[in-house]
């Protein structure tokens, strides 16, 4: 039974459809629309998918393909949103229409990038000075930024940045300057992305999946 639908995100306007390695072994993503909003989905046989590394990667890859390769704005869902039927999805699109519209405005033309600054083993670093240097380089370029959890003692900084696509080069250059800074013997800079802007979208999807 593959009557359930796994949702990657929500687009505005023309439907998205292509063949790909999708979550849980599906081989195609397509769009279920309500008026102009469309949920990008693939078929699945459960409403509670297990988050394996491979499927989490497929979820990310599909969002990236829509956003970067196909140049479409998409409001991303976190991994794991699966619904019982097309009707349930249309109800969600109808019910959360204003929230999706607002989120669409926030993400249109923008990408998310991640930065982690990791203290090298046994190095002693001035966390405040590093935070200050990073903020000075990046905050003026970014449209928004949010802190993420410091899940390791080695992490000095962990932030996500939302930037306009046309500012990507300026952002890359600023990161390169940080990597070349005096402190580079003490820290390692881990720069990731682009991602769909998960960290900047706050759409809660209701209970009746």
């Amino acid at each position: 039974m593959t009557s359930h639908r796994y949702v990657y995100g929500v687009v505005d306007g023309d439907p998205v459809e292509f063949e790909t390695d999708a979550v849980a072994g599906a081989d195609r993503v397509y769009t279920i629309s309500h008026r102009r909003l469309g949920a990008v989905v693939s078929d699945i046989d459960t409403t509670d998918p297990e988050e394996t590394d491979e499927d989490a990667q497929r979820h990310d890859d599909i969002l990236r393909e829509i956003m970067i390769d196909r140049d479409r704005a998409i409001v991303p869902m976190q991994f794991g949103m699966a619904f019982e039927s097309d009707r349930t999805i249309k109800n969600v699109l109808r019910g959360a229409r204003p929230a999706f519209r607002r989120a669409m405005n926030d993400v249109e033309g923008r990408i998310e990038l991640g930065l982690k600054v990791v203290r090298n083993e046994d190095a002693e670093v001035d966390d405040d000075a590093i935070e200050e240097a990073v903020a000075e380089e990046l905050e003026s370029i970014a449209a928004q930024s949010v802190p993420n959890g410091l899940f390791s003692d080695r992490l000095v900084l962990n932030r996500s940045y939302l930037i306009e696509r046309e500012d990507r080069e300026a952002f890359d250059e600023a990161i390169a300057r940080l990597e070349e800074a005096d402190s580079h013997d003490e820290v390692t800079v881990r720069y990731t992305g682009p991602f769909a802007p998960y960290s900047f979208v706050d759409v809660e999807i209701g209970a009746q999946r």
Partner: protein, 84 residues
């Protein structure tokens, strides 16, 4: 002082039970294990941990998280047997 009140006003078996629950909570701290899982990934990504070390630690941590989740489920359903 939730713990103190709890200890003072519950009978002896209750004290053992409470201490045991607190110890289990600390031993099976899911958030701490998940943080360690993320740290393992990060250290692998920046080249501080070999692929073999990374995979081995990942498997260990995932198994520990599974056990911790089971323990917490049992704690919340009161099915953990307390032996003194």
């Amino acid at each position: 002082m939730f713990v103190l009140d709890d200890l003072l006003f519950r009978p002896f078996v209750g004290i053992v039970d409470t201490l045991h629950t607190l110890a289990l909570d600390e031993m099976y701290d899911i958030d701490a294990l998940e943080d360690e899982l993320k740290e393992n990934q990060l250290l692998y990504e920046i080249g501080d941990r070999s692929e073999e070390e990374y995979r081995e630690r990942k498997e260990e941590l995932e198994a520990e998280i599974e056990i911790a989740q089971e323990v917490h489920e049992r704690l919340s359903s009161g099915r953990v047997e307390v032996k003194s």
